[in-house]
Amino acid sequence: MTVIASSPAGTSTARPDVVVIDDVSKRFVIRKDKSIKERIVTLGRAGRANREDFWALDGVDLHIPAGETIALIGHNGSGKSTLLKVIGGIIDPSSGSIRRRGRIAALLELGAGFHPDLTGRENVFLNASILGMSHEETEARFADILDFADIGDFIDTQVKFYSSGMYVRLAFAVAVHTDPDLLLVDEVLAVGDEAFQRKCMDKIESFQKEGRTIILVTHSLQQVVELADRAVLLDHGKVVMSGDPREAVAVFRDLLGGRAVDDAQADSKIAADARIHTVAARAVGRAADEPVQQGDDLEIAVEIEHKSGIDDWVCAAHVISPAGGAVFATSTEMLGLEPTPLRERRTVRFVLKNVNFGEGRYFVTIGLSTSTGRHLAEYTIAASFDMTEFARAVGLVALDAEVSA
């Protein structure tokens, strides 16, 4: 197969797949008996009672084209790290197959191949060779690695005397200089001081420009939105969605929110009877799907209901930024609305005057609670609206500014 890639980086017309994941499942058997004695004692039926099946991955299908940066997100235990390890060939799947092309470097734990008794220099060569580089290649890049790690004369000291920062810097330096086509990153970008983190981010950016594929697992949703071209949301080993990072983050927050609501509602009749039916956000005087201009008034209409009736209630509206942070929140209580008993469906209408948010898609989350603060219902990412481009500035708020010189 030959593909002539003539399109500039950034568009994706002729990109070959780097990783093809085909119906991959992974079952873990959790055993509680480990020694021979225990196993013999619990042989047969009783032994089966001592094991428990756990599907870490359940029928995952993914195609990852070259040059894409993919973030795997999900709860703890949703299978994202397992998926990364399966892609890296570290764990074999129970069924399905993984196909791959190109050179791979896995940064699942920085300095995994470092031996404390060897010097930094010796470890660089060992680690680089573990990551698939020959002695000559390492030699050729040694100056770059040393320069990136910035640890000076310590390179000839045993790494057990390194500070944790130096250790991580050296390890990262080796990993990013191995010229991988595919880089797997697991939660390691949150190390080192700020200057070094900046350096790592710059390196990742240049990796993206060079058409390298990056698959990362991170808990920082901010990072997901900033770095990834695509996010894959996993829940209980299944791919819930795969697409635009912002949307995936929103769905993920929904999932998180849903879980919180589930917990809260478990033993509460009052909460169980509360409903947030529909939420709509639109600019006053414009069509529902039209973008909101800076300076417009924004109307958020919320339809709520309480089946068994409730006397005092508070409805709150949150506006979430494109990157996932809250930028604005208000409530009926803050705005001085005296609650009247709620039973039948009714509509609460918030009007946000003169909205001056920056460009991008914003989300609305609605919460319903009692005036004492007891949580009743929540509707995460219930609606969204787009802000038009603001030519005079960038950022979350569109402030008018003047300049003189």
């Binding site: 092309r101 995994a112 060897l118 060079e210």
Partner: protein, 307 residues
Amino acid sequence: MALITAEDRFARLAAEPLVTVSGDGKSNGFFASLREVLAHREMLGLLVRRDLKSRYKDSALGFAWSLVRPLIQLLIYYVVIGKFLRAGEGTPEYAIFVFSGLTIYGFFNEIIASSTSSIVGNSGLIKKIYLPREVFPLASLGSAGFNFLVQLAVLLAAALVTGSFPVHLDLLYALPAIALIVVLGFAFGLLLAAANVFLRDIQYLVEVLMMLLMWASPIVYPIGTVKDLLGNGWLMQVYENNPITLAVLAFQKAIWLGAAATPTTPAYPFPDDLWLRLGIAIVVGLGLVLVFQRVFTRLEGNFAQEI
């Protein structure tokens, strides 16, 4: 670093075939594994050096320590068993006899002991990075081999000092003896390394078995004493054809010069057809490598989650 544009990279990647790395349809035969290990041979060398370097890194005497143990062992066997218990009487050059046996057996012992713990001991790497896992038992084999060579040099020096340097055709016996130990050590090293991941009892069991195995070979006592007791029955056949015993006997025949009959002692009763027996043992050993490598491949997919 040469600047490669994204398009160059895509074009190059597109020309590469997709390779199944795990799961259904992965080629995991013996030769596929062999190719993979060969592709990583440079790293294998570095792992061996890591093991050797780190072992005595901060000790003043450093490498000399790896010789202290066998030398003390030699002293004990020579004095206590050879002299006090008089097992050495009737065996000329008894010290060289014992030391040659200890050297070849120590080689096997070290391969097995360090291979068994090699996977568990490298858990940090195995959990984080994909490597053909066979390299870890192989690296154990490599560092054991290095220690063996050092000890062999000491042995030959000792033979030179005592004026019995082995310059004879029988020196060729050393080659199949070493080959047999390497083949068996690798075969069982693979099996035990994999088994130890799932059942940590294995490494303790191995310690005990290795002690037993040492006394089941004529290392500190001459084989004649066993023959006197067992005659030529099937028990003697079992004893003699133990592959470790064969390797020990062949190595002694190569290094030790006291085998010939003297006016006071009869010739050392090496078994007949030693070459043939060694050959069969090596072929069987190679078969075991194939079988145990299959077992290893079947089990290795679960290493990362079990350690």
